[in-house]
């Protein structure tokens, strides 16, 4: 209905690309997302530094939270998926987990309401790092040729099936893994904030309807927006956890002994 579009356009929506650039001499190098990533990094560094300033045997609350985050990434992810050798990767996984947690939570913080991971660049770089990491770890442990052979040829495959299986395994292991890792995180964050937009703006559009009995439905739409905000918080934590779980699973696959 035309009334809805009028209401929505008055509030200055949809934003154009230029709304994300910050004004200043550094146009167009610094955008809203650059500042958000800097804020996320600063928050993490400051939190972990101040939590461990004077560590005590009976931990203070901040120290306990920091230890829980690191302990979770170390015990429940690194050691459980990779085994004893996983301790080497625990710092990287813990850092990645806290960075993804903070940037994903940005999607429900008021006034920010968008996660930097909703642009494909940031998950793409993180997935690229994980990709290089599991390939490098595998190649360093087994040697490049043996590692490739070990990944591409599953044990017990009859020889005539190999021309079919090897290209598929190559595609699945070396090409699709980083791609889906990045795309999963990106699509979850992108879809999350689009859904919140749909219900919030839908409430405004319904409110502007010409029939009086449709107007109260806007409250239902806004209640759904609130429920979906809680759901978005759950998805934020879950996607951070799944990213590091899959990274450690790929590393475990690279480090596995030959059959």
């Amino acid at each position: 209905m035309s009334g809805g579009e009028r209401v929505v356009a008055i509030h200055g929506w949809p934003p154009s690309v230029n709304d994300f650039y910050l004004p200043g001499w550094f146009y167009p190098w610094i955008t809203k997302f650059t500042v958000l990533v800097w804020i996320a990094v600063a928050v993490i560094i400051i939190f972990f530094l101040t939590a461990y300033r004077k560590p005590q045997i009976v931990p203070t609350k901040k120290q306990w939270i920091a230890e829980s985050i690191y302990g979770f990434a170390r015990n429940n992810v690194a050691v459980e998926m990779i085994g004893h050798e996983g301790l080497r990767f625990a710092p990287y996984l813990a850092t990645l987990f806290s960075f993804l947690l903070v940037t994903n939570i940005f999607s429900i913080v008021p006034l920010i309401q968008v996660s930097p991971n909703a642009h494909i660049a940031f998950p793409a770089v993180l997935a690229f790092i994980s990709w290089i990491m599991f390939m490098y770890v595998g190649a360093r442990k087994h040697g490049v040729g043996k590692y490739i052979k070990m990944s591409l040829v599953p044990p017990g495959v009859p020889g005539y099936m190999l021309p079919l299986i090897v290209p598929l395994e190559f595609l699945s292991t070396f090409i699709l893994r980083p791609f889906t890792l990045a795309l999963r995180l990106f699509a979850n964050m992108f879809a999350g904030h689009v859904i919140l937009l749909v219900f919030t703006l839908g409430g405004f559009v319904l409110l502007d309807s010409s029939q009086w009995f449709i107007k109260p439905i806007s409250v239902v739409s806004w209640a759904m927006a609130i429920a979906l905000t809680f759901f978005e918080a759950l998805i934020a934590v879950l996607q951070a956890y799944v990213f590091i779980l899959l990274t450690s699973s790929y590393i475990q696959g690279s480090l596995a002994e030959e059959h």
Binding site: N76, E80, M81, T180, L183, R184, F186, A187, N188, F190, A191, V194, L238, Q239, Y241, V242, L245, L246, S249
Partner: protein, 74 residues
């Protein structure tokens, strides 16, 4: 020759609707497997929770690819 029957509107929305069938069934199967395995052997529930989240995220990736590409293929 005139059109005898036509569907007008957003084809990408229809495409997303079809793309959501598979992951919907997949997520249902994963959770059903977890519930059944926890019912048969409750001690394995904690051990399997990691696999539950892993499976759910991998399957939902396809559903979300559908949403994202619905906008790309406009």
């Amino acid at each position: 020759m005139q059109n005898l029957a036509a569907v007008v509107g957003s084809l990408s929305a229809v495409g997303y609707g079809l793309a959501a069938i598979g992951p919907g069934i997949g997520v249902g199967i994963i959770f059903a497997a977890y519930i059944q395995s926890s019912a048969r052997q409750p001690e394995s529930a904690g051990f399997n929770r990691a696999n539950l989240f892993l499976g759910m995220a991998v399957v939902e990736a396809l559903a979300l690819l559908g949403i994202a590409f619905g906008f790309v293929f406009k």
